[in-house]
């Protein structure tokens, strides 16, 4: 998409006055993006598509605010920030992405108002999720979503919640903390979000136990490379012969880089940016950084190749790259990336446990 065309589209999204129109604009954007898929550098492609997603989500949020007012709930009683987690948080959404979201709102000045404020955002969260579905974003299966009270809270409540997660550090809580690490503000008050992230980063590094738990969780998904360097493919079912790009290549690398970023206090959320900042911080060498970036870019590209299904009008992908699409060159490229990924997993594991000793 040429810049001017994209600007135009973004403008139209920004002024759309209904969900059906947003849905149409999304479809249009997708068609254009799909046609650009093969010719555009992968990073540029992701930047473009994430800009569109952000614009769509922002517009839905603004429209939902007016829906709330129209339904007699008034306007937001306190400033808030709407957060994206998961691939949205990392600015790595594809054409198909689900909603991983949360809300943080300012503590009301008067204690008595808290109830009312909480009610407003509970309703607002629910309505937003509904409206985003109308624009083709399926809700998050793991229930990390702004309509879930757990992910919609005031700043002080969030802080004590984060403290609790850091303290208990059971499987589920560690998972939540890793999700928070990818959080990004898509709309609303930046200062709220900064204060939220400050809290996260001040606590993480102070507790070695949590870092170890994070590492365990992070290494759960193994790179799909066998002992002899062969690709480990699906054995059974309709997907037999295909490669699980999402959980066998992309996610392991995202996880490993996130782990390093958390340890080095790197705050950016996009994996490529994290790698660059890790290089700047001296956590990886220039050579390592470029190998990691190359590998990750190739995973991003493979990930785009996994999309096709359109269930009930919602965009989604099972993250599997079918055997038909995997020719010799691509297989080699994938293996090359996976080798980098495997080395990365090993070195992160060593680095983290080494630091703990």
């Amino acid at each position: 998409m040429r810049d001017s065309a994209r600007e135009k589209l973004l403008n139209r999204i920004g002024s759309a006055d209904g969900y059906p129109e947003l849905r149409r604009l999304r479809d249009q954007a997708h068609e254009r993006m799909e046609s650009l898929l093969s010719s555009m550098p992968v990073e540029q492609f992701y930047t473009a598509i994430n800009e569109i997603h952000d614009a769509l989500i922002r517009r839905v949020l603004i429209l939902t605010e007016s829906d709330m007012a129209r339904q007699g709930n008034g306007s937001p009683p306190v400033p808030y920030a709407y957060l994206l987690f998961g691939s949205g948080g990392r600015e790595e959404q594809t054409l198909s992405s689900d909603q991983d979201s949360g809300i943080v709102y300012e503590d009301p000045p008067q204690e008595e108002e808290l109830e009312q404020v909480r009610d407003y955002f509970a309703k607002y969260g629910e309505l937003t999720v509904e409206n985003l579905q109308k624009v083709g974003y399926p809700p998050c299966e793991g229930n990390v979503i702004s309509s879930n009270r757990l992910w919609c809270d005031s700043l002080s409540a969030w802080k004590s919640k984060l403290d609790g997660w850091f303290d208990r550090a059971e499987f589920e809580e560690v998972r939540y903390l890793l999700i928070v690490a990818d959080g990004r503000r898509v709309y609303g008050e930046e200062s709220l979000f900064t204060s939220y992230k400050d809290h996260f980063f001040s606590d993480t590094l102070a507790k070695p136990r949590i870092v170890k738990r994070m590492l365990d969780n992070t290494m759960r998904h193994k790179v799909l490379l066998g002992l002899f360097g062969q690709l480990l493919k699906e054995q059974y079912g309709e997907q037999a012969g295909s490669v699980d790009i999402k959980y066998g290549a992309y996610i392991p690398m995202v996880n490993a880089i996130r782990m390093m970023a958390i340890q080095s206090g790197v705050r950016s959320t996009s994996t490529l940016q994290r790698i660059e900042e890790l290089e700047a911080a001296g956590a990886v060498t220039e050579e390592q950084s470029s190998a990691l970036q190359d590998a990750f870019r190739s995973f991003l590209r493979f990930r785009l190749m996994t999309m096709k299904q359109d269930e009930d009008g919602l965009y989604s992908s099972n993250g599997m790259l079918s055997r038909q699409k995997l020719d010799k060159t691509l297989t080699e490229q994938l293996k090359q990336g996976l080798r980098v990924g495997k080395r990365l997993q090993r070195s992160v594991s060593r680095r983290v446990t080494g630091k703990l000793r």
Partner: protein, 450 residues
């Protein structure tokens, strides 16, 4: 004290008056008695292996078929024993035979006691009958989860009454392969390959189970309902195998049965280890089912060669069998041959491998000791023994496959071989027997035909 001994001896004499007249035990008669006792124990161990097959087959299949799978094994062991008594034994070992078939000794009546210092014919029959029904239970692997109960009945009669005894005659009963010097100590070919070839004919004619393959040709994994059963099955079979192999020494006085047991243990162990490692390497996950099949494949492979090879070769044979069984399982799956219990790979592929291994690894000393055939290729025996082994595999395999295929094809066209789609989905427990093996768990299953 003395009183006690005298009075108990007196009691024994009252109970068994013959004891007073029995001739003094000589060292020879004691040895013979011990030999016979071992063969009896071995026969019992082999019969106990049926418990292994019950658990193996039930564990590897789904809950809705468990009662049927387990029960039919006991039924066919019963029927098979009667048929072996009436017909099978006479064809395998009947006195008036030729190179191709034995004749005589139908509706067999053995001698009451020993006649000439060898295993009494009664005991020999029990031992051989146990082998025949093992081969039968292997064949059922190809029938699993979709064949009609009536087909089990008819095939038992044909298999134990004709197919199996003919092969046993060829190799063990003085048939033409025995004349050639084919080495198959305890039955890699006779018992295991025969069973597997019958299973192959059955599974080809039955076609894959519902849900095994997708429209695009990809395979689904139909997991067995109890991996613990399957593992226990392998242990039972492993233990029983000492009766199978070491029992085939038919005595203990020269101590050779210990050597056979030694090799058997090494073969099984190597099979289990190799299979686990190969799945780990190839799939990235260590697969339990394959590992269990690897142990069995090691046992099947070492069955022919346990009396003919050195221990190091037993380890090699087991290792190769463990790797081979994994690729064989993949191969049959790719060929769209649904083999629920993996009988084709465990008993067929490994049976072939074990029989051929003799042609490579048989040592001159052991060959001389057993008095069958010649040394293998790696021991200066040249290609001859390997050729004989190859021939026995091809001839026996082809014979069993062709006859089984014809018989089952007739069953298929005359009375039907496979249950209806509805019956298969409800499960054979209900369709063939009217009650579930797991009634509580399967209650919901009755809605499956809705």
């Amino acid at each position: 004290m003395v009183k006690k001994v005298v009075s108990s001896l007196g009691g024994l004499l009252l109970l068994f008056p013959a004891m007073a007249f029995a001739s003094e035990p000589t060292p020879t008669s004691v040895l013979l008695g011990v030999n016979l006792l071992w063969v009896m124990v071995a026969a019992i161990l082999v019969i106990l292996m049926q418990g292994g097959f019950i658990l193996l087959e039930a564990g590897s299949t789904r809950m809705k078929n468990a009662g049927h799978v387990a029960g039919k094994t006991i039924f066919t062991v019963g029927l098979g024993s009667l048929i072996y008594w009436a017909v099978g034994y006479g064809i395998a070992f009947g006195e008036n035979g030729n190179l191709f078939i034995g004749l005589g000794d139908f509706f067999y009546t053995p001698s009451m006691t020993i006649t000439d210092d060898v295993v009494p014919s009664s005991l020999f029959w029990v031992f051989q009958c146990a082998f025949a029904v093992i081969s039968l239970s292997i064949a059922w692997g190809g029938f699993a989860e979709r064949a009609k109960l009536s087909s089990y009945l008819i095939f038992t009669i044909v298999f134990v009454g004709f197919i199996y005894p003919v092969v046993a005659h060829w190799i063990w009963g003085g048939g033409f392969l025995a004349e050639d010097g084919a080495q198959d100590f305890a039955g890699s070919t006779v018992v295991h390959l025969s069973g597997a070839m019958a299973a192959l004919a059955a599974t080809i004619l039955l076609k894959p189970r519902i849900g095994k393959y997708n429209k695009d040709g990809s395979a689904n994994q139909i997991l067995g309902h109890n991996q613990v059963f399957t593992a226990l099955a392998v242990l039972l079979l492993w233990v029983g195998w000492f009766g199978f192999n070491a029992g085939s020494a038919l005595g203990v006085d020269d101590g050779f049965f210990g050597f056979v047991a030694f090799n058997t243990q090494l073969g099984a162990a190597a099979g289990a280890v190799a299979a686990m490692l190969i799945t780990w390497i190839v799939l990235g996950k260590a697969d339990i089912t394959t590992m269990l099949n690897g142990a069995l494949a090691g046992l099947v492979a070492i069955t022919a060669s346990c009396a003919f090879v050195d221990p190091w070769a037993a380890v090699v044979i087991g290792l190769v069998a463990g790797v081979f069984v994994f690729f064989s399982m993949k191969f049959f799956e790719k060929m769209k041959i649904d083999d629920p219990i993996f009988a084709l790979s465990v008993h067929g592929a490994a049976g072939v491998l074990g029989t051929l291994a003799n042609g490579l690894f048989a040592t001159p000393e052991l060959v001389a000791y057993n008095g069958v055939g010649k040394a293998g290729l790696f021991y200066g025996g040249g290609w001859e023994q390997l050729w004989v082994q190859f021939l026995s595999v091809v001839v026996c395999g082809a014979f069993v496959f062709i006859v089984s295929f014809i018989v089952l094809a007739i069953i298929k066209s005359v009375m039907g071989f496979r249950v209806s789609e509805e019956q298969e989905i409800i499960g054979l427990d209900l369709s063939e027997h009217g009650a579930y093996g797991y009634p509580e768990q399967m209650k919901k299953g009755t809605n499956l035909n809705a």
